[in-house]
């Protein structure tokens, strides 16, 4: 899959001088986004996400001399102010707090983006109507932002950002101020625009749920650095950095479940021949009647303590916490069998307590 990169950030540093110490908001970051991607940058607040995505349209300039910002093949750092403004019009941006003009009606807020579009008055009006229809707000054209709900305001923000037919949409925590239901609706709208218009979306968020729902690629950011980047499926099934695992747990709750499970008496006094394992599987391997097979082949019984199943980009990704019990030899064979079935097996605890009574 040799897709063409539409955004290429190389060696980006942003250092803020605060009193006597330097704050490295972005610290030697490379980021490459392909055309058509929905790219999620996830991190806790203060990680430098907002600063990083502002580098894409140079609302924030890198503070190091050897940084490179290429968007659509254009080196933005080499442009003069007026050319840069022209390029910015090709990069839409939406914000956590919507940033609409309170003094303008909804239609005028969208029209505001068309000041330099060189359209006739009639064409501008037509374009505004199109955009409002695209985001489903035709009937709100003459209302003012103060009369709208958060979700509706963000739709206006999206309409405004798309007015100049950009190739890229940057989303700065665009759903963070919205309730869960509205968040899903806005995310689905972004995914829809990505499909319909071929729009490349770069979104930053602290919610892994948002990333999971629409992104195909993910970068995890911490203290100004990208600690892990990759495809969504890969990140979810084989997270490496501790922070990535943290974030994934915020949506799968696997780690928290594990902590709870570890408190159970059955786990504290795990018997010989029993193991607590974490099973991970994705795609076709989930179609196997695995648990039944374990019992049929090895007489190993499986007690499922916790399970989580995600559908990521149409592929099921599952995680189970299971106690396998049998004779030590059979349990061992069962583990080998599962590995052969392309199930990732992580033994969390092996039983040590002798069986007091056994037939």
């Amino acid at each position: 899959m040799a897709a063409e990169p539409i955004i290429e950030l190389k060696n980006i540093c942003v250092t803020f001088k605060e009193d006597k110490r330097d704050v490295h908001a972005v610290d030697h970051v490379d980021l490459s986004v392909d055309r058509g991607d929905i790219y999620g940058v996830v991190g806790y607040s203060g990680a430098g996400k907002s600063t990083l995505i502002r580098v894409i349209n140079l609302l924030q300039r890198p503070t190091n001399a050897d940084a490179s910002v290429k968007v659509n093949g254009t080196d933005l750092l080499g442009l003069d102010a007026s050319k840069l403004r022209g390029e910015r019009r090709k990069i839409g941006m939406i914000f956590q707090h919507f940033n609409l003009m309170q003094s303008l009606s909804i239609a005028d807020n969208v029209d505001f983006a068309l000041k330099k579009a060189h359209l006739s008055k009639a064409d501008r009006k037509k374009r505004v109507a199109e955009l409002l229809e695209l985001v489903g707000l035709t009937d709100k054209a003459d209302d003012y932002p103060a009369q709208l709900s958060g979700g509706q305001k963000q739709r206006v923000g999206i309409a405004r950002a798309l007015a100049n037919r950009p190739d890229i949409l940057i989303s700065d925590e665009a759903t963070s101020a919205l309730d869960p239901k509205t968040t899903v609706a806005i995310l689905d709208l972004l995914a829809d625009l990505n499909r319909k218009l071929g729009l490349t979306v770069v979104l930053i968020t602290h919610e892994m749920d948002a990333v999971k729902r629409i992104c195909n690629r993910v970068a995890v950011m911490e203290a100004g650095r990208l600690v892990e980047t990759g495809d969504l499926l890969q990140i979810f099934s084989q997270p490496e950095a501790p922070l990535t695992k943290d974030f994934i747990d915020t949506t799968t709750h696997l780690e928290s479940a594990l902590a709870a499970v570890n408190q159970q008496a059955a786990i504290k006094h795990l018997q010989v021949g029993s193991v607590l394992v974490q099973l991970g599987y994705q795609g076709e391997s989930t179609d196997q009647p695995l648990i039944t097979e374990l019992y049929r082949r090895f007489e190993v019984s499986a007690n499922i303590l916790y399970g989580n199943l995600e559908i990521l980009q149409g592929t099921p990704v599952g995680n189970l916490l299971v106690i396998l019990s049998g004779t030590p030899k059979h349990t061992e064979q069962a583990l080998v069998f599962m590995k052969e079935q392309r199930v990732s097996v992580k033994v969390l605890k092996s039983g040590t307590e002798e069986v007091s009574v056994h037939d």
Binding site: R88, M93, M101, Q102, K115
Partner: protein, 230 residues
Amino acid sequence: MIDFLTKIMPNVVENWSGDNGILLGIGQTLYMTFWTTLIGGILGLILGIALVVTEKKGILANAVVYSILDKIVNIFRSIPFVILLAVAFPLTQLLVHTTIGPKGALVPLILGSAPFYARQVQNTLVQVDSGVIESAEALGYGPWTIVFSVYLREGLPDLIRTSVLTIISIIGLTAMAGAVGAGGLGYIAISKGYQRYQNDIIWVCTLLILVIVFIVQGLGDLWARKVDHS
């Protein structure tokens, strides 16, 4: 009717029209207020906008320009107006070739009110949501568009309110300028009412100034409410 008015305020009726009459005083007060508001308003607006955009986080941040403008505003705001009237004499002579009458008062009035208004404009415009400014930058707009279409548009309701405040303070300043020979209702109240013990003139002049203030306030409030959609 005239008889009744003559009876309750004889000096007012006697001094109503003619040279140095109250009618002329109203005209002079309005003249000074109008031109000071117009010229001082434009200067103050430009200065206020310049302060906002050159501020540390402004769209044209420039520490040197900001600190110079900031100091100019502070110095002029620190000079008491009665003293400014005297200090401005040479400049007034140079610009309008007279130092007396309503025209002679214009220069000190403008010097006194423009910095005051500039500070008001600055305080109003810094409250415009910085996110909205950023979104305009993201849309590829330059400083001019941002000043005229965002700052002045978004700040308009509050700008009207502070302008009303400034106009009312200008009306106050014209009365003070009147006391040193600029004419207007303030001059009449002092020179005829106060110094000749004609109390009815003081009261009527005060009333007339209040009427002007209320009209300005009322129109301003109406306009501000009309453009405020927040």
